[in-house]
Symmetry: C2
Subunit: 331 residues, 2 copies
C-alpha cells in the first residue's frame, strides 16, 4: 500500500507492506551515499537486512531510550557525518522507534541546513504516529522536545514484520496513540480496540496513518487542527518527564487521556480498552512536579494552555484551560 | 526606508534609518517577552539603547569571534531560554554582527521548533549581507556553517549609526561583500567603490540589500541563482578555516575573489578597489590544507564543485570545476 503525503516542504510516499525492508534499496533509489542511524533497542535482524543492501554505508548506533535523545547524541551524530564526509546530496536513513526518528530527523534537518531523511519505523509508536508529520526534536534540561525542527521525510517505509521482535509492552505503547486517534477523529478505529484488535493490527496502523496524514496535510506547522493530536499529551508529557524513564510515551498518553477526560461514559469505555492493552491509567508520581512541567510546556500561553477534550467519540475539540484548572485536575 | 521581503517561509520588512535603534520597540511591537542575544564585540552603547527600551528582558552575551560560533554556545543559549521560560510566542532579538546573527538565528530556528527572530545587525557585513536571507548556522569540527537551518527573520532593523563604533578593519571587512555584489550583479555598485565610496556608504548598503533581497526571493533555499552569492566564498571559506581567526570573513572573500578571477582586466580593477579598502589579496597559508577544506565543503559534489566566475562586471555565472582544477588554481 502506498500513501502519498503532500506538505508545503515536500511531497513524499509512505509504503506499508509485509517484507518491505528486504527491498528497501529498490524503493530508495541510487546515486547518493547513505548514512544509517539507529539505536541498540532495534533488533540486529532488521539492521542486518538493511546493511546487506548497503554493505559500505556507515552505521551510527546509540544507546536506546529517551535519556539519550539529547544534544550530546545530536552532536556525536553530526560529527560522525562530517568525519565521513556526508554531503548535501547524501541521505540519512533512520531505522528504529520514535527516539531514533526524532534524533535522526533533527540531524537531517540541520546538517548542512537540511539533507534528505528516510524513515524506517520499527515500533508501533513510530509506525502509527511519529514517523510522519515532520516533527523532529531532542530534549534539554528535562524538557521534552524543546529543541527541534519541522523536517518532512522524503520517504517512509513501514514493514509490519519488524513488530515481530518488539516486546508486547512496546507494541501496546504504540497502540495508545491509535486509541487516541480513534477518540479524537474516528469512532470506527476506537471500536476496533473494543473487539478483537489483534487480528486487525494492519488495519489499525493504516487507518491511524491515513488520519495523521490528513491532519498533517491540513496543518503542517501545528497552528490549528493538528493540535487535536495532543489529546492526552499535555498531562502525558508531564508524567513522562517526572517518571524519568519509568513510563513509555504511549503509556503516559494513556494516563494523560484518563486524567483529562470528563465524559464518564467515554472514560469507562477507554478504561476497558486500556485494561485490554495492559496500559496504565493513573500515574504514581508527584503531581506538584507534573504541574510545574506542564506550566513550562512549549504549548503553554500566559493565561493557560490549550487542552484537547472528547465529549463524543471521534470528535475531539480544543479548550483553553487556566493553570488553576489544570492544577485541580491533577488532584 | 522600508524594504519588504517576500519568502516562502514568511514576509518581513527591513527598515534602514539613522537613529532607528532608539525607536526599536515601537517597530517591534508588544504582547510577548523579548530575549536579547549579543556578544562582547558589540559596543555597550548600542546594547544599552536597546535595554533601555526592554529593562526587564534577559540578555545573553557571549565572547565574540568565529571560534565561539559553535554547538557549545548554541546549547548555552538554548538552556538560558529554557531556564527563563521563553515560550513559542516570545521573540529573540539578535544584536550584533554576522556571528551573533548566525547563532541567534539558529537558536530561534530550533528552540521549540522555531520562534520569531528579529535581527539588528551592527556591522557592515551583517547590514549588507548576512542579516537577510535566512541562513543560520554554527561551525563544527573546523567546518564552517556545517550545522544550521534556513530561518527567515520576522524583522530587520538597520541603524547605520552603529557603524560609528566599528573599527575600520571591520567596516572594510563588510564592504568586501558589497564589492562582491557589484561584481556579480551590479556594475554601478562596483563603480561606486572606484570613486569616493565613503560618501556613498548609505547607498552602498541599500543597493546591496536590495540586490540580496531579490536573489533570496527568487531562490530561498539556494538551489539556483542564489549560488552566485558564493562568488569568492569557496576559496574564501578555505582561507577562513585554515587562517584560524587570523582573517575576517570579508577579507577571506576578497582573497577568494582574487584567487578565482580569470579575467585580467577585472582582476586589475578589483585589485585597485581592494587596496583602497585595505583588504588582503592573497592568503599566506598552507594551500594543501585549503584544498582539503574545499573538498569537504558542503557545496561540493562527487565530481567537483560549482564555482562562480565573472567575465563581465555585473554578470556572474556558475561553472563546475573539477577538484584538479581547484588544486591547480591554489598554486
Amino acid at each position: 500500500m502506498e500513501i502519498k503525503v503532500t506538505t508545503r516542504q515536500r511531497d513524499y510516499s509512505i509504503f506499508i507492506e509485509h517484507g518491505l525492508l528486504k527491498k528497501a534499496r529498490s524503493l530508495i533509489g541510487e546515486g547518493f551515499n547513505v548514512f544509517i542511524i539507529s539505536d541498540d533497542g532495534v533488533d540486529d535482524k532488521w539492521i542486518s537486512i538493511l546493511l546487506d543492501q548497503y554493505p559500505d554505508s556507515p552505521l551510527f548506533r546509540f544507546n536506546h531510550g529517551e535519556a539519550n535523545k539529547n544534544l550530546n547524541t545530536y552532536r556525536d551524530i553530526l560529527s560522525w557525518l562530517a568525519r565521513n564526509r556526508a554531503n548535501r546530496h547524501d541521505v540519512i536513513i533512520g531505522i528504529g522507534g520514535g527516539v531514533v526518528g526524532d534524533v535522526a530527523g533533527f540531524v537531517a534537518a540541520t546538517y548542512m541546513r537540511g539533507i534528505r531523511y528516510l524513515n524506517i519505523p520499527t515500533t508501533t509508536l513510530a509506525q502509527i504516529d511519529s514517523s510522519i508529520g515532520g516533527k523532529t526534536a531532542v530534549d534539554l534540561g528535562g524538557i521534552k522536545n524543546i529543541v527541534g525542527a519541522f523536517w518532512q521525510p522524503s520517504l517512509v517505509l513501514i514493514d509490519p514484520e519488524t513488530l515481530s521482535t518488539l516486546p508486547s509492552r512496546h507494541v501496546n505503547n504504540g497502540l495508545a496513540e491509535a486509541v487516541k486517534m480513534g477518540l479524537i477523529l474516528d469512532e470506527k478505529l476506537f471500536e476496533l480496540f473494543e473487539g478483537d484488535y489483534e487480528s486487525h493490527l494492519d488495519e489499525i496502523i493504516e487507518r491511524s496513518l491515513i488520519l495523521k496524514k490528513e491532519i498533517v496535510e491540513q496543518d503542517e506547522n501545528e497552528t490549528g487542527i493538528r493540535k487535536l493530536l495532543n489529546f492526552g499529551h499535555t498531562f502525558g508529557h508531564g508524567y513522562e518527564t517526572v517518571g524519568e524513564g519509568r513510563y513509555l510515551h504511549g503509556e503516559c498518553v494513556a494516563m494523560g487521556m484518563m486524567t483529562v477526560l470528563e465524559n464518564e461514559e467515554i472514560k469507562e469505555r477507554l478504561h476497558k480498552v486500556l485494561q485490554k492493552l495492559d496500559l496504565p491509567e493513573s500515574c504514581e508520581c508527584d503531581n506538584e512536579k507534573v504541574f510545574s512541567i506542564i506550566c513550562n510546556d512549549k504549548k503553554s500561553a500566559a493565561d493557560g494552555i490549550d487542552i484537547v477534550q472528547v465529549d463524543e467519540i471521534g470528535k475531539g475539540h480544543i479548550e483553553r484551560w487556566s493553570f488553576d484548572r489544570i492544577r485541580r485536575k491533577l488532584g
